[in-house]
Symmetry: C2
Subunit: 326 residues, 2 copies
């Protein structure tokens, strides 16, 4: 058997990443090439059955092109509040489907393929360990800074799922006691209320109201202000915009210090929209992490930015779950 | 071979628990019986060599009585800032020996027995898993509430040591940003500054100064007020004393919620002097933990009090490290 014909029979994996707005899916090989990929709406499906139906219709032609269902080892799903042990999505605040959804089982029945499911940030952590910045690491923490803040924790070379399958909800840890209200959880002062795209927007609105400082952001209607606009203003030298990122980095850095004192990772890997603000947010984050660490941890923990292509990373992470299957 | 003669040849383990004031040591069998035990001063030894010499002189007669060095499988040491990977004690604020001490190696050379070392709270966690409240658990967090706050984290059935061997410094996580100064670390607002015996004493002094409320504690000279006195007053119905524990429990509960959202443990096991205050501190701790947890964790995580005899627990935990040796 020559190399190319052998390759044609190597197993492939399907990766599905479910977000509040859209869902990405693709077929991936063992070394992380995304062979086929597509996208569909999540939020347009108020119930889960038609969502899975559309997912099946969208993936079927790719499966055929890839050589048929026999070549697929399994399906990996990353989803908010995904429970690895039960293959369920439970009480996900950002999804249209409420309660406890036996999502993995439903996908398995529809595709007739073994399916494994975990939360989206856990999937991202496995993707980083297999293909990204965490290759070779046994202890690291993945933090996704998007609309919300997600996390996946790897210790002793294994993802921590915890007793109920929900470990790694670091976005909901209380960072500022009695701080900003989080409408999705009803709690006050969580990391996600500050160090997410949503949080940066709220900080911008607060700073614009509390201060009289001139700012480019004052030319933008309030409902158009978002973390991207703040970044653009910061790059143009806007002081208020830079202060917004400093404030965000101060809170994020303190939270990261706490995570370091928990599991003593080799690195923290950041991923997602907010990381595009580069040093505007990373510099205060690094400084404030170090400022809050006790001596034994000082100047040891790397903060790395994921270098996986954003369009592929979610699919790669979800598909990587399949290679970990027994 | 009958049972009793077989038992005579079963291996034993030495457990050594090093505290800032005193050091406990003992010889333990496989099922957790402390056969011999003793205690000596830590703080009277300004250098480590005479400390190890006294330890050796104290343990030698016990080793002889236990059947000689051939019956001992190894030595387990629990020490503040103990590093499991390097067998060192590093920069321990509460010990008289500064810098990085190759303690495990020194003990190994003196006793001619394999020695394993970790931080005292990690040792306690292994002790609980082997003999105590965490038997059968794969995911739990041990918190020791003594003069300071220590912790050991077990996930997937294994203690988390982290990349550098210092995981589980939860006492130093920042719980109240810009809060109370910790003279040992130079950081502000750590859990240890509030939820330790030292923290309760400081809270008592603060409350007595800030409020005009009558209190039994006002009859005690300031330098005699400690967590024990606060507990005695609380039992006699003293409102201010009860408020001191409520305040402590509020902060501890919030911190525990954060730990739960990190590793999703089945239980949190509390150990140490502060737990003697019973429901005065446990009730507000439980309430405030639940109040800060997001829905998926609500009413799931047990808070348990260690039921190991306090005099044995430290030795048991340290000796338990030996049975985990390869």
């Amino acid at each position: 058997m020559n190399t190319s014909s052998k390759k044609a029979f190597e197993p492939l994996a399907i990766g599905i990443d479910i977000g509040g707005t859209g869902t990405k899916f693709g077929i991936v090989d063992r070394i992380g090439n995304v062979l086929f990929s597509g996208e569909m709406s999540t939020k347009n499906h108020l119930t889960v059955e038609p969502f899975i139906e559309e997912l099946y219709q969208s993936l079927s032609p790719f499966i055929e092109q890839a050589g048929g269902v026999g070549r697929i080892k399994g399906i990996g799903v990353g989803a908010p509040n995904g429970n690895y042990y039960k293959n369920t999505i439970e009480h996900a605040a950002n999804l249209p489907w409420k309660g406890i959804i036996p999502f993995g089982q439903m996908v398995e029945a529809k595709f007739q393929l073994p399916t494994v499911l975990t939360n989206d940030a856990n999937a991202a952590a496995i993707g980083e360990m297999m293909y990204g910045a965490a290759q070779g690491m046994k202890d690291f923490i993945m933090i996704t800074l998007g609309t919300g803040v997600g996390s996946g924790i790897v210790a002793n070379g294994k993802l921590i799922y915890g007793h109920d399958g929900f470990a790694g909800e670091l976005g909901h840890t209380i960072t500022i006691p009695d701080g900003r209200f989080h409408p999705g959880t009803g709690k006050k002062g969580s990391l996600e209320s500050y160090a997410s795209a949503t949080g940066v927007r709220l900080t911008a609105l607060e700073f614009l109201e509390k201060s009289d400082k001139p700012s480019l952001l004052r030319n933008i209607p309030a409902d158009h202000i978002d973390s991207k606009q703040v970044h653009i203003a910061a790059k143009e030298g806007d002081e208020l915009a830079q202060e917004i990122f400093e404030y965000t980095g101060k809170i994020l850095g303190m939270a990261l210090a706490n995570f370091v004192m928990f599991s003593n990772p080799e690195a923290i890997i950041l991923f997602g929209g907010l990381t595009k603000a580069g040093d505007f947010i990373l510099k205060p984050t690094r400084e404030n992490m170090e400022a809050n660490l006790i001596q034994v941890f000082e100047n040891k923990v790397k903060i790395l930015i994921s270098h996986l292509k954003e369009s592929d990373a979610a699919i790669l992470g979800a598909s990587a779950l399949v290679w970990e299957m027994n």
